[in-house]
Subunit: 335 residues, 6 copies
């Protein structure tokens, strides 16, 4: 039987002005429900894994609609707690060319998830899984959720689940800055087996230093040390470069004291948000399936590239699409 | 020169599942920006008045989009304060037949308006107007806004503006119930010249009593006393009856110690929300234009009927449409 | 071989605010191309007739799109002349309940059709048909088109085609009023075999008088005289009554000196415009097929009733739908 | 722990022309995935039950999209077999007023479900449930599916599950007519505990006779006998009457040798298809919860009435909505 | 008088997830009706030719909607046979960047066209044309249609029409592979005057060999031999190259024993499907108009390039657009 | 207090086929209201200026909808005259890649603006402004509007406002060609302080000559002379180059006898129309704020680049977006 994968984190309602318009230029918004935890599980679900989301949704029509949407992604909602009144929302105005995308949040701090307590979550659900994923945003929201997150992670670890963690540092949410964040992150890193992180996180959050200039060299210099210091099995991340004419994406994998870099992909961008979660769900699947380090990094990067080409935050990439991309077989029309 | 009409109150973003679907049955939402104050001014603007809204909108793309929308209704935004982070939102799932409409709110208490201070509003703007409108919801939100609302009303009165007030009691927002509300309402009623109110408000909020059973008789028994007690020039309201096959609407006007009732209209309902604001904007216009009491109540009721037949919360009824309805000239197609 | 039916008249672009909104409340408009001549031919095409439209469309992308649309209705465009620069347009804001529909025209007088000359139309096309339809609007636009219309009608008659004429009096277009219109109408009525007309037209346009009060009695009193005076084979029309709760439709047929009335139908109205053309296309089909007078009037009225229930100006009612309505077999879902 | 409810049957893709248009009048179609089995489970899921669908979907993007949609309704897809190439489709052109709805099918006989074998279904899944639902359409499609359906029903019964059956006779699918159907239906009725059926089914399928004329009397005369003959615990059904101005719905329940009729409801119809499944899911829930016979029939009928007022084939009615309808509390807007 | 051009082949309903979404990510699908035969005729119609489609459509609302759509493209439907029950459908999920498009078919083998017989087609229609087009897909579907196709082609040839043939090999439809296909293709090639084919077809279907490596050299080596062997007047085809940053298109023409290559165009791709039909309709028009070989290949390639930039399968490119592209005058906005 | 900026010119209704379709390929059109004057004011409004439009709109629902739309852009409509019957319209079919956009006009010459008289405009409105903008199209329409335009410009100048003028030569509107246009343009240039113009205008309209070949050299050679001859404070314009793979944009500024060129930007094009107005509104804002010549040209060009990336004709670019582009900080997502 396949491993059941859990994730803990907030679900938000994404409202989006269609066709590259601004909100003032439209009278309707497309919407979806997403979040790092949903996204990673959606990615794994579309790769064939059974998944289950631990979160709190409001006990109203928006909460029920969110659960319906999450199930449509193939993610289980049996571990969802319905409690509280609000769901966090954000409005996306997608950019075009030199015009960047803009995101406007509604009040998230009062959301059902951000107000949830440890009693909203049942440890029973941990028993059904072999792995659980967490995200740095859960550590940033407020002290209550931070503590709930860390305790669930530690409990999961104690019960024998492997743990993954996406560093995902959101400066606006940490009033105390990196100084406040570092001990919290360190506590989580000590629990985590698989981590999404870049060399920039090592410098800013963990306070590490390097004289290397090029990003690949910085990865080499810093991240194996991070893995060793916090007993992390594998760290993965991406390096993206954007210039006027194109974007490129290169993945890296830190495992067993060494770094593997993927081939560099040129990426066409349909929907930028959630592409990191696509990368990480590909990474986790490759890890779970015991692939070689070079296969892991290529597979994860292919998943990340494809996440840029699919609508919405939540990855829906199939195993076959990843394999075709790796074989460079992305023919025009499959029929 | 025509009178410039002001209103003070919150603007909310209305998100609506299209075609009588639920949120879980759709992937896009129509939206608009509305609120009692916007609606009354929109109604007056479409009847030819210059209007100006006093409110606070968040200083972000949603706030700017709201201002853009309000201007499109013909309502001025020079008196809008841009401050704070959030706009109140609600999601409407329109009912059909025996299935009632359902409304789900996002967190409104942290909205830019609900967090606004007296310093967000400039008394200078009062000088540009001859009349200002308020709504009971502003009194309910929190003590800060309640005080701001009352002070602006009293200041406006002191400066010689006439004041109107829509009782609009929202039980969920008054934690202390009618007991908490009564003194607040009484303070506002003492300021108000024109009031939207029903016999039910007189009983529940003001604690008045009558042995009359029929609604029209209760209006007769109670509302002239209210007008006298609080020195209100005119009180207006509607009586709506709904049965399986149809809804009817009848307006009433309390003025000079007597009550006038309008003809009873059968109403076809396209969009229920905001129809009371349509009635009241028709009432105010008729008052401003010095119509006779029977003309006032007929004109206001016609405006209310038509507000049921137009899309959206904010009335867009024209003078000509009201006149045609009164002449029973609603021909199929005007061409 | 089935009769080929022609019609002469203007094609307009109908732009429509969706979902009962006003233009100011939307950012997109649905559109179609229609006109009395297109509508009557569309109705006949859906009843199985070969049809051909004589008109002038602008020689640009809007004209080509109009021709594409007309063909999609099953109406031939081989007799369309592409010349001139503009197409007439109108914007429809559909009403709801007591709020009437409103139509705003763009400048029609400069349209390709309204500027067209007799040289735009080839008499060769008349040879392919057995019947041709005209509309009173073509007589109203300007003197040039009026003369073109009358000459084509007279030429068609001379060539042995039967001729139908829809009186369709548009007061705004006749600067000289009924006085200017009467001789023009009389010239056309003398050519016409089948006419769409009501007792009101007989009074206003033809100046006839009656002491009868009820509409059915007026029809009886006036229209057989009209048929006799102008040697018209058959006159057909409808009587519609609208009150607060419902609309009814009753057809009548004047033939051989007597009047037949149809059963009275209650009509649900989805789209009012073009329902008269639906009636008349049903009438013509029944005439062409040699039905009895009572069958003609019932068939035509059923076609008219169904035209109220279909989207758009142009009827798309099938023979089977008419027959089902006559048998009262409009079951919920046919599957 | 709540009962887990299973259902066995086909899932179809419903494509629908929007806004009462015909297919020829639009360039886009709304779609959903439905079927009697999905609908009954969706109804039960929205009333709080755990549900699981047994069906076969094609192993392609349409099959995966169907599963995603079904999960969004709260129905489990762990028992879905992905096999075969096609999904049955139908196109709905919704009627309006006197114009009936029309349904056009694509080829269903080659669908993954219609071609599925007993080996596509695992008896293991039966062990997870307490009840299973079947539909008469599964008996009609072809002999292979008919036999699969009956065997699963009999196996479920043998394992201790209760069984429900919706007679749902589709004349077009039974080439051998009622004669072919009767023994098949009888075999199923002997297994079934709860049956959806009307007096018409008793006459046409089972060949019973009565001299009663009125429908309620026919129900009284025939259905208790059916229940007794086939050892059915409860039979439920509805009587709908439609005239020009309104439709009414009345439910009935046959239990313990007697018949209960519900109050008669006037129904406003937004979406007719699937309303019978709404009724039956309400009936099953009431049965499962041990309600009294009069409560069962009222509850089921309220669920059926509300299913007419909700978009789509699949009921999404909540417990609270049913209770509000029963209390006649369908207020305009709930906020 | 201009030549009337016929084509024989299947019409399918194309359903398409909008905005680069997957089916699971949307609730509506755009649709159109297309097919190689429709597409080639649509291309020719927009270049000014009279066209007529020979096909069989189902005798239901989908078949009628298909005919309506085809007429809207300017293609005649007098030679369409309405018979049978189903229309072939496919669902397109358009790719983006490295994500390829995916096509899911519904059951095509039972479609009205695939089940049609020689008796569905009247030889009378051949008399009205000067040229007729066929497609390799018609040869692949089943033996019955294969024979019908070949007989109509041979009959047309016998009656003096010129014949064109698009090789269009679909491996999934040929159970017997190239071995089964070769004699069938050879029979058709012996009839055909104008053929769409590449060097790959010569190798795989006809079993020819070459030592040349580069594609242009292979064309040179193989296709003049094919033209000679089967007495084909002209063969045309395209060479497309795709890399990460762009696609290029180059056309070739084999005529009078020699090969002409067009300039190489960089192509922006809006809609890939049907672009080959755009190329071939441009080729046929150039042939019909007696252009020089270099003009033919440039004109055809320009038509193919523009077909990539237009929505839908069916080309709608105008003569002026082709001429502007050849002059490199594709200015931003024409006004 | 900020300067109030006026503009005089026509407002047109832009109807647009969505998703790169042609009109014949769609059944709905998106729309907006725009025009050079609206666009320049919209650009300035979004940069923080108070603006007021002087124009004439028809006194009907389209005119009111246009005013509503214009206000939504932040542009004042107090100086709008409602008179006449029609609004100019154009239909845009957006191109893709090598397929150019196409624009089809409705009859503009009879529009409310084109038929307006000097009496439609009140000089009082000039008193409220410090600057007024005009466009070459107003000079081209007809002699009446030409004279009105020139007189308002001269009157504004006399009252101390600065004047800007966009040369914007539309060949189709000038029946007398450059010869007719030159004296009219010269009269306007003598009034204008700030002018949008290129070296091509200097050659064609003003008849100037240069032996320079490169466009930048021609600008250098000609435009300082133009500035001197007509006493223009500053002339600004852009040089755009388009090849198969990309477009570039470079701005220039002629001031104090010298020319500044901006950096060359690669532009991604979402909506081409109105990008020149985006450039010019950025130019005017920079002028009003007294920026240095190199800052003016960079700021204006950045505004022009961003106008290519925003939906619609009317610029909605914010100050912050311009600054971010100049710092090359167009990050993927701002959150």
């Amino acid at each position: 039987m396949k491993a059941k994968i859990l994730a803990f984190g907030e679900v938000m309602m994404r409202l989006e002005a269609p066709n590259y318009r601004t909100v003032a230029q439209t009278r309707s918004l497309d919407f979806a429900f997403s979040g790092t935890s949903v996204n990673v599980l959606s990615g794994l679900s579309h790769l064939g894994y059974q998944t289950e989301l631990m979160t709190t949704l409001p006990e109203n029509n928006l909460g029920y609609a969110a659960a319906s949407y999450i199930r449509s992604l193939g993610v289980g909602t049996d571990a969802v707690s319905f409690d509280g009144d609000y769901i966090g929302m954000y409005v996306l105005e997608k950019g075009f060319g030199h015009r960047g995308s803009e995101v406007t949040y509604s009040n998230r701090s009062e959301s059902a998830f951000c107000q949830s307590l440890e009693t909203n979550y049942s440890i029973e659900h941990l028993r059904t899984g072999t792995h659980i994923h967490f995200c740095g945003i859960s550590l940033a929201i407020n002290k209550q959720i931070r503590e709930v997150t860390l305790r669930i992670a530690e409990e999961a670890k104690a019960q024998g689940l492997t743990v993954s963690f996406d560093c995902n540092f959101r400066p606006k949410l940490w009033k105390g800055g990196y100084k406040e964040a570092r001990p919290v992150y360190e506590r989580m890193l000590l629990v985590a087996d698989y981590v999404s992180m870049t060399e920039k996180d090592a410098v800013s959050i963990l306070g590490m230093q390097t004289t290397a200039v090029q990003r690949q060299e910085q990865v080499d210099a810093l991240l194996p040390k991070v893995a060793q210091r916090y007993s992390i099995s594998a760290i993965a991340g991406t390096i993206r470069e954007t210039n006027a004419s194109a974007s490129t994406l290169q993945g890296f994998l830190v495992q067993d004291g060494r770094v593997d870099f993927s081939t560099v992909h040129t990426v066409a961008i349909l929907d930028r948000i959630g592409s990191g979660d696509g990368f990480f769900s590909g990474f986790l699947a490759a890890i779970f399936e015991g692939k070689s380090s070079s296969d892991i990094v290529e597979w994860a990067t292919a998943a990340g590239v494809l996440a840029h080409t699919t609508y919405g935050d939540s990855p829906v990439t199939t195993r076959r699409a990843i394999e075709k991309l790796q074989l460079n077989q992305h023919i025009d029309v499959e029929r």
